[in-house]
């Protein structure tokens, strides 16, 4: 079987259309035609992704244990209204709790949302279930309970697209925690190495130490990221010969492969929170000794309280 003329014609036609689309979007990403198409498709596919993620959420949340849910439920019961989804799994409660703690510490005003779709191929992007109807705009910072997630790159009516901070095209201006030296962190993309970012300092005199923590540092008008959001911890110094400034490996606080509840910072803090949002440093303190009272033999076998609380 050879290609008939019709097959060839259709193939060539489709390829030409595809190449034309590529060229169009490559030349001018802001062209009105493509913009309209993208907006329309975002509303359509966003709705589908809403439905799809909620269907998937039924399966994923069905195994949530209810032991800690009740306690967390009480903690976040006042915050539940902020989420459109009414039923949250146990992990989502924890994430929401952590997120609100971070938002409170930094003074960020956030819109809590859920990741409903993830990018295809090499794209490190996610879709959130909040959109322009919730006050989300392009360029706003997205964070979760651990730290910086990314920034909003496209907004539709009920969804928005977030470019993750670990995409290889994202560059984050950071400040190292105690001293406030400035540098920038570039995302690793989908490479091996556990998603470690790379930190490059701007000042040649700055000295880095393993374990120091990084927060975002706004450039101009809280763009591209609002200040004070935790980014990661320095894990390794990469002192290369010939490099002017210090280079280090940074392990991000956020696990970009397991995003759940995130918050879009719709209003930046009034003042720079500096390093207030950072988690406490894991310094070696005195070893805590837990003494368990000897159980009486006649006592009823009650489960010992978990140490999680």
């Amino acid at each position: 079987m050879r290609d008939t003329r019709r097959v060839r014609r259709v193939l060539v036609g489709l390829l030409i259309v595809a190449l034309a689309l590529i060229g169009l979007s490559y030349a001018d990403g802001k062209s009105s035609l493509l913009h309209g198409i993208k907006a329309a498709s975002a509303s359509v596919f966003g709705g589908a992704e809403h439905a799809g993620s909620s269907v998937a959420g039924v399966f994923s949340s069905s195994n949530s244990s209810s032991s800690q849910v009740t306690k967390l439920q009480q903690e976040v019961v006042r915050l539940r209204a902020e989420l459109s989804g009414a039923n949250l799994s146990k992990t989502e409660y924890a994430q929401l709790h952590q997120l609100l703690l971070v938002a409170g510490a930094g003074g960020y005003r956030i819109v809590a949302s859920r990741v409903i779709a993830l990018g295809q191929g090499f794209q490190q992007t996610v879709t959130l279930d909040v959109g322009s109807a919730d006050g989300v705009k392009v360029g706003q910072t997205v964070l979760n309970g651990q730290g910086l997630v990314g920034s909003v790159t496209a907004v539709a009516g009920s969804t928005c697209t977030v470019l993750l901070a670990d995409d290889s095209s994202s560059v984050i201006g950071v400040a190292v925690a105690p001293g406030g030296q400035l540098g920038y962190v570039s995302g690793p993309g989908k490479t091996s190495g556990g998603g470690l970012m790379k930190l490059q300092m701007l000042n040649s005199t700055s000295v880095l130490k393993v374990g120091e923590q990084l927060v975002t540092w706004a450039a101009v008008h809280n763009k591209p990221y609002v200040p004070g959001v935790p980014v990661g911890t320095i894990t390794k110094l990469l002192n290369r010969n010939g490099s002017l400034t210090a280079i280090a490996q940074v392990r991000p606080f956020v696990n970009y492969g397991a995003l759940g509840i995130v918050g879009v910072v719709v209003s930046p803090p009034n003042h720079n929170p500096r390093f207030a949002v950072l988690p406490p440093l894991p310094h070696p303190g005195p070893t805590v000794t837990v003494t368990v009272p000897a159980r009486k033999p006649g006592a009823s076998a009650s489960p010992s309280p978990s140490a999680g609380g």
Binding site: V7, A18, L24, S25, I116, T127, T159
Partner: protein, 500 residues
């Protein structure tokens, strides 16, 4: 229409599942299966290139436009379109073997993933680096290959359920024996007998109805001498024969044409046979014999087939019935005078039963087998301006390999050149020598699908180019596309099990 709707629905479901669930999986290696790509390739495999590429283009466009996408619009449309086309292009393998379909799918999917990575690396070097490609691509291909059998199975089953016509879906034939048998119903039953009487071919027996075996013709006296026209001379008269003069085609020196021993052309024709036929003729090669065209064996290519069996037999006088009408005997006369013994019989003699007084007796000094009762080579003469009918085409394909371009050309031309074309072995045409008589026994060699030595065999490249050694490719070439939707090529397609 339902197929289109179902395909659209499947793509939409796959898109949502891919974006919401599959991309969120954290699998070892960093890659995730690309369900949409596999689905597109499966659609192409099940439905052909055009549906495949359309589905691929639209699905890719959806991937490009669906919200989390930040790549350039058209990137995945390009890649998936090519993937769907390639899978459809390879869809013929699905009709043959499921394993091959899987392998073809895997090749397509792996190539498409590599192409997607390459396009991304070219268009968006900031996001797609070589390191990330090296990290993600192998595991992605691996997961794609892992889900390929399931998706392909589902797609093929769905398309089979939705499409009652199995011709549309080459792959469905894989899974539905009913569909295959349904196709075979329309296959002409091939038999060794000559054409029907009204076919324009002389020599169809009166009882030669479709599907029946040709009766042994007791009335035929076939002279098994070398070069004797296995003439239809003994045949009884049948009513309804064409009254128009029968034109013989003498010595068409084409490949696998038998050459009657036209005196002038005999040697040259033999040389032509000897130089070309052993190299190309599958039947001859299959027997492991070389055709030896020298004097006395000019009775058509079939003579080489059995000559060994008769070479040891004692010589014997063989009477030949030369036709008494219309100077038919001149053929034989010429031949006899030249010592070339491949005499064409008389067509009209066969019709009328001959006139006994006009039957010369020729003593052939060449190797002559013992006179066993043999079945006649059924002569087929073409009437002038007779159109080829499908049945005739079929028979000639099966029996004699006369399905050549010249046949069709002559049919179109209206046969300006009266020629007697001698059949190959099995063709049962007139003038195959006595050896052509065995054609009725050896019969339908080319119906069989089992490859003989080298013929119709799959080469290792056949997987990709869908050509076999000889076989269909040869037959298609010979039948020509000019026959178009005629039954000739359709029959060949059906016979050879072509997918599309």
């Amino acid at each position: 229409m339902r197929k289109v709707l179902l395909a659209a629905l499947a793509i939409a479901v796959a898109l949502v599942a891919q974006l919401t669930v599959l991309n969120g999986l954290r699998l070892p290696g960093g890659g995730v299966p690309d369900l949409i790509l596999v689905l597109v390739a499966s659609i192409g495999m099940a439905s052909g290139p055009v549906p495949g590429m359309l589905a691929g283009f639209l699905a890719g466009l959806c991937v490009d436009l669906a919200p989390p996408a930040s790549q350039l619009v058209g990137q995945y449309a390009l890649v998936f379109c090519l993937a769907g086309w390639a899978a459809g292009r390879l869809s013929f393998v699905a009709a043959r073997s499921a394993v091959r379909a899987m392998i073809a799918m895997m090749v397509v999917v792996a190539a498409a993933e590599a192409l997607a990575a390459a396009v991304g690396a070219v268009l968006e070097p900031a996001q797609v680096s070589l390191a990330s490609i090296r990290q993600v691509l192998p595991s992605t291909v691996l997961y794609d290959v892992a889900i390929t059998p399931f998706v392909l199975y589902l797609v093929i089953m769905a398309s089979k359920l939705l499409a009652p016509a199995p011709e549309v879906l080459p792959a469905s034939a894989l899974l539905s024996p009913a569909a295959r048998s349904g196709r075979r119903q329309h296959q002409p039953r091939l038999r060794r007998a000559a054409a029907r009487t009204a076919d324009g071919w002389v020599g169809g027996g009166p009882r030669s109805v479709l599907g029946g075996r040709p009766p042994a013709r007791q009335t035929t006296r076939l002279r098994p001498a070398d070069g004797v026209a296995g003439s239809a001379s003994g045949l009884v008269h049948r009513p309804g024969l064409p009254a128009s003069p029968v034109h013989l085609r003498l010595s068409t020196r084409r490949r696998r044409d038998g050459i009657i021993g036209g005196a002038a052309l005999g040697t040259a024709g033999a040389a032509g046979l000897g130089s070309r036929s052993p190299a190309r003729h599958p039947g001859l090669r299959a027997r492991g014999r070389t055709f030896r065209p020298h004097h006395g064996e000019l009775g058509g290519s079939a003579s080489g087939q059995i000559s060994r069996a008769y070479r040891s037999r004692p010589r014997e006088s063989v009477p030949i019935n030369f036709g008494a009408h219309r100077g038919d005997g001149s053929v034989g006369t010429t031949l006899a005078r030249n010592g070339l013994v491949s005499a064409g019989g008389s067509a009209t003699g066969s019709r009328t039963g001959g006139i006994p007084g006009a039957v010369p007796k020729v003593d052939f000094r060449v190797r002559a087998p013992a006179t066993t009762r043999r079945q006649a080579a059924t002569p087929r003469f073409r009437r002038k301006n007779s159109l080829l009918r499908p049945s005739a085409v079929a028979f000639s394909v099966v029996g004699g390999g006369v399905l050549e371009k010249s046949t069709f050309a002559a049919a179109r031309r209206g046969g300006p050149t009266p020629r007697l074309r001698l059949g190959r072995r099995g063709s049962g045409m007139l003038g195959g020598s006595s050896r052509a008589g065995t054609s009725l026994r050896s019969g339908t060699a080319r119906v069989r699908k089992e490859p003989r030595f080298g013929y119709g065999r799959k080469s290792w490249l056949s997987f990709l180019v869908q050509r076999r050694v000889g076989g269909r490719w040869l037959a298609t070439r010979r039948a020509g596309r000019r026959s178009g939707s005629g039954s000739g090529s359709a029959m060949i397609r059906r016979r050879t099990g072509g997918a599309r």
